[in-house]
């Protein structure tokens, strides 16, 4: 207990950064992933190709390498300096978006094809067929796997610690300098993560109940 309460400032700062990374990366990943997921089922071949290449390229790259690229490669491109936190958010978003896209695509496949045909038959173009008819139904089917993606994202934020972003993953390092027992610190960090994931699980249960669709 003392380990936690004597260093509350470090814990609070660390987890605050973790949640900032998670929050922004989750939003961007959801938006980008939805677009890429829709591209992968698009009737237009070039769109499908771009979506497929993106998913396969980024998803097959280890997140650490992706972080490396943004932490060390990006500054060499001569683009405006946006800071490591933003770069970490970009890397996490791009990486997680591929999983969101694939999860969503599996959800899209659970929506009967007649739903899309009916939407097209009343004159909705592809974009509105997706956004008004297919995706709302696909999202419902993907709540459990989608939450797994976001739980993974929450934990993946700790990789940013390796790139000068002071989030929860750096707490142990800082506290070991203060002379705290490292194992105890790690157990506290783990416990807080478990609690945070628990909140996500509650959100999942809530959404599953709210969006239950009758067929």
């Amino acid at each position: 207990m003392d380990t936690l309460f004597n260093n509350l400032d470090i814990f609070v700062d660390g987890f605050r950064m973790t949640f900032v990374l998670f929050f922004f990366a989750a939003i961007f990943a959801l938006i980008l992933g939805t677009i890429v997921g829709a591209m992968r089922v698009s009737p237009v071949t070039p769109m499908r190709a771009v979506g497929t290449v993106y998913v396969n390229l980024v998803r097959n790259t280890p997140l650490t390498l992706l972080m490396f690229f943004f932490a060390f490669g990006y500054p060499k491109l001569g683009l405006p300096d946006v800071g490591y936190t933003t770069l970490a958010i970009i890397a996490l978003s791009l990486y997680t978006a591929t999983y969101v896209a694939e999860t969503l695509r599996s959800g899209i496949n659970t929506v009967p094809v007649g739903q899309a045909e009916a939407a097209r038959a009343i004159g909705l173009p592809f974009g509105q067929t997706m956004s008004l008819v297919i995706l709302p139904q696909a999202f419902r089917a993907t709540v459990p796997p989608m939450m797994s993606v976001f739980i993974a994202l929450l934990k993946n934020t700790t990789i940013a610690a390796g790139f000068s972003v002071a989030e929860a993953g750096t707490i142990r390092q800082v506290l070991s300098e203060r002379g705290e027992p490292q194992l105890t610190v790690l157990l506290w960090v783990a416990l807080i993560f478990i609690l945070a994931v628990g909140v996500l699980s509650l959100l999942q249960r809530y959404l599953e109940n709210k969006w239950r669709v009758a067929r």
Binding site: P43, V44, P112, G114, Q115, E117, A118, A119, R120, A121, I122, G123, L124, P125, Q128, L132, V133, P136, Q137, R140, V213, A214, R215
Partner: protein, 277 residues
């Protein structure tokens, strides 16, 4: 507008604004007899399978054409090519003089003018009955929500579902769902309605309620292409019967001619099988 006009529209005469509600010429019936759907030399292949063979069909405004034939004869495929839910290998399809565009906004705009009713209803499962009917008018026709809902309620009343408008599709019986599907298609004010085996997924007692709505629609002058196994409907409501077998149109004639004096052996064979059961 004077308040009296609102309460007693019949009292208004001549050039008052109310006169636009009194137009007698129904746009559906106007121009009756002109070609609306033209299918020319259409071929369709699924790999090695030749699904449609040199199909030529003209449906005029106000006409009710019933397409019948054995399973696998290509009648559903033909119906689905008319709003390009099914692509064609060669040939041409024109709706009201416009060639079917290949993809994109133009195709979507043309589909809005072609109502379609499916065998499996395909109501939007996550939307209420009312939302199912208003979605197209609001998103495609850009109607205001209030206007779309008002029109939808009139249509739902017409097909006898006005009490259920807040329910989800799964809470309705098959026959009710299919009548909603008809209302949803009508809400777009289509030039032509396609029915792809609308009663094939229904229990016998529900078939009648759907056919009643369709018969009424036919009587009102809607142009209809109906793929069905309901011979009673074909006899009663059709202007023409198109008989298909093995991807070809074998006969294209009046219901009386077709049922009483079929010319081809293929049609005679088909009809004899119907009558013996």
């Amino acid at each position: 507008m004077a308040p009296t006009d609102e309460t007693n529209p019949s009292a208004s005469t001549g050039s008052t604004p109310i006169s636009r509600y009194e137009t007698t010429s129904n746009p559906i019936v106007a121009g009756r007899g002109e070609p609306l759907v033209v299918v020319e030399n259409v071929e369709k292949h699924y790999g090695d399978f030749h699904a449609l063979k040199n199909i030529n069909l003209t449906v005029n405004k106000g006409e009710v054409v019933v397409v019948i034939g054995p399973s696998g004869s290509g009648k559903s495929t033909l119906c689905r090519t008319i709003n390009r839910l099914e692509t064609i290998s060669s040939g041409e399809i024109r709706i009201d003089g416009t060639k079917l565009p290949s993809e994109g906004k133009k195709l979507a705009a043309l589909r809005a003018d072609v109502g379609m009713v499916f065998q499996s209803f395909n109501l939007f499962a996550h939307k209420t009955i009312l939302e199912n009917v208003t979605l197209g008018p609001m998103k495609v026709r850009r109607q205001k929500k209030a206007d779309a809902e008002k029109a939808a309620k009139v249509l739902l009343e017409r097909v006898g579902i006005e009490q259920q408008s807040a329910k989800l599709p799964a809470q309705l019986s098959g026959g009710q769902q299919q009548r909603v599907a008809i209302a949803r298609a009508l809400a777009m004010k289509p030039k032509v309605m396609l029915f792809d085996e609308p009663t094939s997924a229904l229990d016998p007692e529900m078939i009648t309620e759907v056919l009643d709505v369709m018969t009424q629609l036919a009587a009102e002058g809607m142009t209809m292409i109906v793929v069905t196994h309901e011979m009673g409907f074909a006899r009663k409501a059709a202007d023409r019967v198109v008989f298909m077998a093995d991807g070809e149109i074998v006969e294209d004639t009046t219901p009386e001619e077709f049922f009483d004096h079929p010319k081809s052996t293929r049609a005679k064979d088909f009809l004899s099988k119907l009558l013996t059961h």
